[in-house]
Amino acid sequence: MSEKPETMKHLDEMTCLLYIERQLDRARAMEVSGHTQECDACRTLMRALERESRLLTRAMLEEEEPLPGRLAQFQERARKSMHWIWGVVFGLAATGAYALYTTYIDPWMQQLEQAGFGGSNLLGLLMYQGLMWKGWQSLVTFLEVLAMLTLVGLGALIFRRRIRRGSALAVVFAGFCTLLALPAPAGATETRGGANPTVHSEETIKGDIYMSGERVRVEGTVEGDVFAAGKDIDIDGHVKGDVISAGRYLRIRGTVDGNIRSAGNTAIISGTLGKNILWFGDAVTVDTTGKVGGGVTMFGDTLAIDGHLGRDVLFFGNEVNLNGSVGGEVRQKGHMLIIGSGAQVDGPIHFEGDHPATVSASAKLASPVEFKQTEHRKPYRESGYYIWQVIWAAAYVLFGLVLFVLLPNFSSDAVRSAEQYAAAAGVGVLVGFGLPIAACIACITVVGLFIGLSTLFLWYGALYYGAVIIGALVGQWLMGRTSEQWPLIGHMAVGVVIVRLLTIIPHVGWVFKYGAALWGLGAISIAVYRRFQPMLAPSLPSAPYQSPMPPSSPVGGAVPL
């Protein structure tokens, strides 16, 4: 071969590479080929590049590692696992649903119906009958809520494919909130604040009224509902709707045609109430002059009835004092029941407590008190405890099944996030304790009440979801990794059962219970955070797309240099 003439330039490395990779067009390839006939250096470079290509291919193709056992068994195991996992999943889910309905929901609905709340409106009661947001009242029936959730789920499925990274969820959530906002009361709503907001005796409020202040007074007429927050709340006038309040004292000296739904320290009813009382707080007294058309459901310390109650009493707390008349039955779970001489109860009395009821001989009772001693045995020694554990495990599986079906990708992401053990646990502790505090702070302001309560609700649900996520992780440890939806659900079912088993270990079970919930909560938080992270931008500068070379040309295509 001849030596390179002084004027002859060497080929650059890129051209040599494209030549050996057959990426040059025919004319350029001929040119390069001609050059290499005469230039030793370029020919040597091309040979070196070719050898480098062969070395790379050989190094990559060499099988220095056998196929891992996990992969070798993957297909078979995934298929086999489905046979029995699905039996477990559906069995537990069906058991859970049936047990929850027959043991909890049905008896409660009956009790609540007896107490005057109407069994078909359980969700309405749970939603506090519009305490925080009036629009619930038009949406509370079970079918409506179910239909709404179905729509939201469908919306999420549709939008999930179109919009990426959780923004779909935000859109759907925003739509959901808008939907909730639509049926808000169209009637006139008035708001009053200050130190002593008052509806004066000559006044008539046509719609609802929101009142907040140190001393809230209604002396006139309100044709809608009264929403009140304050230290002392006095209703001396006439409220044709409900009284929904939060405050230290609630005194009803006037007339309320609807219900009282309240949380506070003390309620004293010396006027007339058309319907029911639902009270979360310390004490309720129906005074001797007080008349309540419906019943009382109370979670608190003391209930005293000296006046007249039209229907039933359902009480969870410390003490009930009966000196007036009760038109329905009395059902109490607490410490003491005292029935005085002036008492008249037209229905049965069921009392579960530590001591038998104290009953005056002069009391007029339709039937003797049915007393059941509260048993304080260790739960581990009772068979019912274990049955309940099975029911709880089934309920968790059912809950997980629903969430993993509705949010498959998010659930999968959350399980992956849970594998970052330290980060998930740390974030879990932070969110687990920090979020409720933040939500409570939000609740203090009237504007943030809905947001605060929604956050608390989500936080509480996320604790259970977290346990399900950790269940899925445990299942993954035992049965191998999968990101496919249904096998993941199967793993979740197995893992949840194991986590539940760990939680019933005496003395240390609570560590597993709360640990799993917080760890899972952290994983969910990390997954949420990642969803809202911006995607990495494409790293190359944009340029017009070049059409690919025709596959038939062996050395075709434009030279990219």
């Binding site: 890129m14 590049l49 790379l56 220095e64 297909q75 340029a543």
Partner: protein, 193 residues
């Protein structure tokens, strides 16, 4: 493009598309080893490669209906695998933006052919594999796609999301990185001895 040591199992593919579990098993047994090796070369750890292999085959179940039977199944499968691995790397932010800044500045001078020849001559496959692990994600991915699964420049461009004209640049830069890693290894070995 041909899979390393495989022929096209057309019948098994047809049956698998119809939902035959046995056919799935056949495809898995035949293609899991090369796909695992592909992932092993492209991803940083063995665990990542195992996970990715399983995920690719799970993804395949849903995608098999999209496969055009007139084209190479192996090539298509590698394309799915490459996209999955690159997505995985990109999600982890392993991809370095710095790489793109330097793309336009790849040296085009004539390297010393004899020195390059010697470097290649003295290196074993194992050393090359170790050096590959030290490369940036994009460089390694490009080399694996080109020299393991024999993907075309168009396919590499699609998978990496770059213009076709840049594929040669990416590959050349990857080779430079590899040579540097091999030299560093040799220097370290020399220093140690």
């Amino acid at each position: 493009m041909n899979a390393p040591g495989t022929t096209e199992p057309t019948e098994a593919i047809t049956r698998a598309r119809a939902g035959d579990a046995e056919a799935w098993g056949e495809l898995y047994r035949e293609y899991a080893p090369p796909i695992f090796r592909f992932c092993r070369r492209a991803l940083p750890t063995r665990e990542d490669a195992e996970d990715a292999t399983m995920e690719i085959f799970m993804k395949l179940k849903g995608k098999l209906g999209q496969y055009d039977m007139t084209r190479s199944f192996t090539a298509w499968l590698y394309k799915v695998a490459a996209n999955h691995c690159w997505d995985t790397l990109r999600r982890r932010k392993i991809r370095q933006d710095k790489e793109t800044e330097d793309l336009e500045n790849v040296p085009l001078e004539h390297p010393d052919p004899n020195q390059l020849d010697r470097l290649i001559e003295e290196r074993t496959s194992e050393e090359v594999r170790k050096a590959l692990n030290k490369l940036g994600a994009r460089a390694r991915m490009a080399l694996v796609m080109r020299y393991y699964s024999d993907m075309s420049y168009d396919e590499i461009a699609d998978a990496l999301g770059v213009r076709r004209a840049f594929v040669g640049v990416v590959l050349l830069r990857a080779r430079h990185e590899l040579r540097q890693a091999l030299e560093n290894t040799a220097l370290a070995a020399g220093g140690a001895s």
